[in-house]
């Protein structure tokens, strides 16, 4: 991901219009998409993505050009999203979805009921509504990790920086999110 060069950083600190347009054009829609992916409505996501960029510009004095702009912006988005969640369930140390996952293997670690590869042609079109409902059912932190790793394509280390989690725990949360989505799609008859 691109870093901010010193010249652009100076221009942004002076609120240079051209520099502002460049940074907004590059990141606003991506922030909006991430906010929507995290479960915010159209209106909330629009307001939230604007709010993130305003905060970014206002906090430029603390921003070191060495950091990735996108990682910094997603960090602001994460904090603002947390402020807006009415209630945020704590991420439990032991998630029952892991027991569901482990129950699919015998004592030698082999599949008891082997998974079936999805039909690629039919999958995406038919799954749209099902997947939307299943994503809505994810706990907030798992949903954020899934969004950052799977959609925004941040590395585990970058996602860890954004969410203040270790790389190992990001892996655990991604695994839980994926297994929860898989179990949900199985219940809906989309995945076997």
């Amino acid at each position: 991901m691109p870093k901010l060069d010193q010249r652009l950083l100076d221009q942004l600190r002076r609120r240079d219009s051209e520099a502002l347009h460049a940074i907004v054009d590059e990141h606003a829609r991506r922030l909006y998409r991430a906010a929507r992916g995290m479960g915010f409505t159209v209106v909330e996501a629009e307001d939230l993505s604007q709010d993130v960029l305003v905060t970014f510009i206002e906090s430029l004095d603390r921003f070191e050009g060495r950091a990735e702009v996108a990682t910094w912006l997603f960090g602001i988005l994460h904090h603002k999203a947390r402020e807006r969640y009415r209630s945020r369930a704590r991420e439990e140390l032991n998630d029952p979805i892991e027991t569901v996952f482990e129950a699919q293997f015998d004592e030698r670690g082999s599949w008891i009921r082997p998974p079936v590869a999805p039909d690629r042609a039919a999958s995406a079109r038919q799954a749209r509504d099902a997947i939307r409902e299943c994503v809505d059912g994810l706990p907030p932190l798992q949903r954020e990790v899934f969004q950052l790793r799977q959609v925004e394509e941040l590395s585990a280390a970058e996602a860890g920086n954004v969410l203040a989690q270790t790389v190992t725990h990001i892996g655990v949360l991604l695994h839980r999110a994926r297994m929860r989505l898989r179990a949900c799609l199985e219940r809906k008859g989309w995945m076997y």
């Binding site: 606003a28 909006y32 929507r36 992916g37 079936v116 799954a127 959609v151 990001i170 695994h175 995945m191």
Partner: protein, 76 residues
């Protein structure tokens, strides 16, 4: 020899990226021999694809003046 639960966990956590070379090789070998774990990996990939397509639709939602409105708010 890695087991199915070890391989599928590595696939699902994304832990393969940072795994030592020998472990990566072990996973590649296991996947070459185990159609069940290959099916699981395809399921994980299909879920990712479906969510990315959902998000692509989100990206198209803001109206054309969205970016200009953001700049206006920043300059306010």
């Amino acid at each position: 020899m890695l087991t199915c639960i070890e391989v599928s966990t590595l696939v699902s956590t994304g832990g393969l990226d940072d795994a030592p070379l020998m472990r990566k090789l072990g996973v590649v070998l296991h996947l070459a021999m185990c159609r069940h774990c290959r099916a699981f990996r395809r399921q994980v990939a299909a879920i990712g694809r479906a969510v990315r397509e959902l998000n692509a639709a989100y990206e198209a939602e803001p109206p054309s003046g969205f970016e200009a409105a953001v700049v206006q708010r920043v300059l306010r």
